[in-house]
Subunit: 263 residues, 2 copies
């Protein structure tokens, strides 16, 4: 039997590219931006530059500026993409000084206070025909998130952890974003994608969540408490995500996408 | 103020391309096929050739064969795409005679009886490293569908319409498709996208549904009954899909996507 690597249609680079669950939402967002040749592009909340690299690949002739509030992230981004420019900024108050053609933001606005007000202001700061393209996780009702809040409320740590929940902004229904952006927009496209990430097992879901949603909670716990919290969480995750026939688990992950064209 | 058409990043062709709600799911499916240069591609249930055209654009060097059970559709497809080949086939029993690199199917398998069995058989008919890429509407629980069944059950026509529902196959949970295809697959990627189609008003939703889900029901009614059925449906649709601030309605439309690579 021929191996997959020898098959005619097979491409190892593409396979790797498509196999990377973490960059898929950003690629899906870039793919829906209906601009051919934007001049000025901002990557809002660029982190270590992963999303900026996607923009540079799609728009090689654009001036691309990545913004982030974290100096560490900016250092990493500058190292990864020396050709792009990176600047410190607080998205809650930042506005472009020049009319932008594309304001792009991948998995950031769920952390920005009063994000709906900010999105409306950014929409108005676009050049005519420019594009606001935003993706945010919309998974607060998923078991992996609900179980964190349940465990936080049940333990002796409940008072201390009460504030951790506030960091994450609630994502509204699609129609609310439509009504918010429509007065400034020629076209508003909104959709949700529910990814199903095939992970090795329940502890792999816990590892995934450690990098994101668990962080504000674990930051308030000592080492022994962290161990107890994670043990309880791992047990309940195993119950909420039953294994597939091959032993893997599917992490259901809903995300909201907005692509708006300025009138 | 500059018009949108003069703006630097603006591209009318792209705007039209991205603005077409009906072809968006097919384009989203093609975009996720991780093959660089497949040799033999089948478009299963090609209809008038819209999806076949997407495949020909993405894979210009491939041998592309469109299959459909409707002679009318095949005639339209041949006219639209003279370079491709189109053949009559019943997807319930058809299997490729040569090992295919890509078996592609956009919005068809919801009509194929026992579609899970068929998908597993097609997966086994792929070349090693080949791809099965499938999209099906997963909207039977949406108000636009539930209201059709409600009205069908309530009227004097209920007995006559009881059979109309059977035509459409129930779509299973993502994990069921994962378990079904995984034994033959090197990689299984499953996701759902919930599109939010901004339509003019509630009657526009009715028009949309007339082209698809309403057809088996209306086919069994006379002219007066059709009028009564549509009047009742339009009224309830207006209640279930409240207008946005600009008067438009958002038609929520969930779809399931499967992209599987043969081991």
């Amino acid at each position: 039997m021929k191996s997959a690597a020898e098959a005619p249609g097979w491409d190892a680079t593409l396979y790797l590219k498509y196999g990377d669950e973490r960059t898929r939402p950003g690629r899906d967002l870039v793919a829906q931006v209906p601009l051919a040749d934007p001049r000025l592009v901002y990557d809002l909340g660029c982190g270590p530059g992963n999303s900026t690299a996607l923009l540079a690949e799609r728009f090689p002739r654009a001036e691309i500026i990545g913004l982030d509030s974290s100096p560490d992230m900016l250092t990493q981004a500058r190292r990864a993409l020396p050709a792009a420019r990176f600047e410190a900024a607080d998205l809650a108050t930042w506005r472009p000084q020049r009319r932008a053609d594309l304001l792009f933001s991948n998995a950031v606005f769920q952390w920005v206070p009063n994000h709906r007000h900010v999105l409306a202001a950014l929409m108005q700061a676009l050049a005519s025909g420019g594009c606001l393209a935003v993706q945010v996780p919309d998974n607060l009702a998923e078991p992996a998130q609900v179980l964190i809040r349940d465990i936080a409320e049940e333990g002796a740590w409940s008072k201390r952890l009460a504030g951790a929940e506030d960091a994450r902004q609630t994502i509204a229904a699609p129609q609310a974003y439509y009504d918010l952006l429509r007065p400034f927009g020629a076209r508003i496209d909104i959709w949700q994608t529910i990814y199903q990430h095939a992970l090795a097992d329940a502890p792999a879901i816990v590892e995934w969540m450690k990098a994101t949603a668990l962080r504000p909670y674990l930051a308030l716990l000592d080492a022994a408490e962290t161990q107890d919290f994670l043990a309880a969480y791992t047990e309940r995750i195993a119950g909420a995500y039953p294994p597939c026939a091959d032993g893997k688990v599917l992490l259901r992950f809903p995300r909201l996408f907005l692509v708006a064209i300025r009138a």
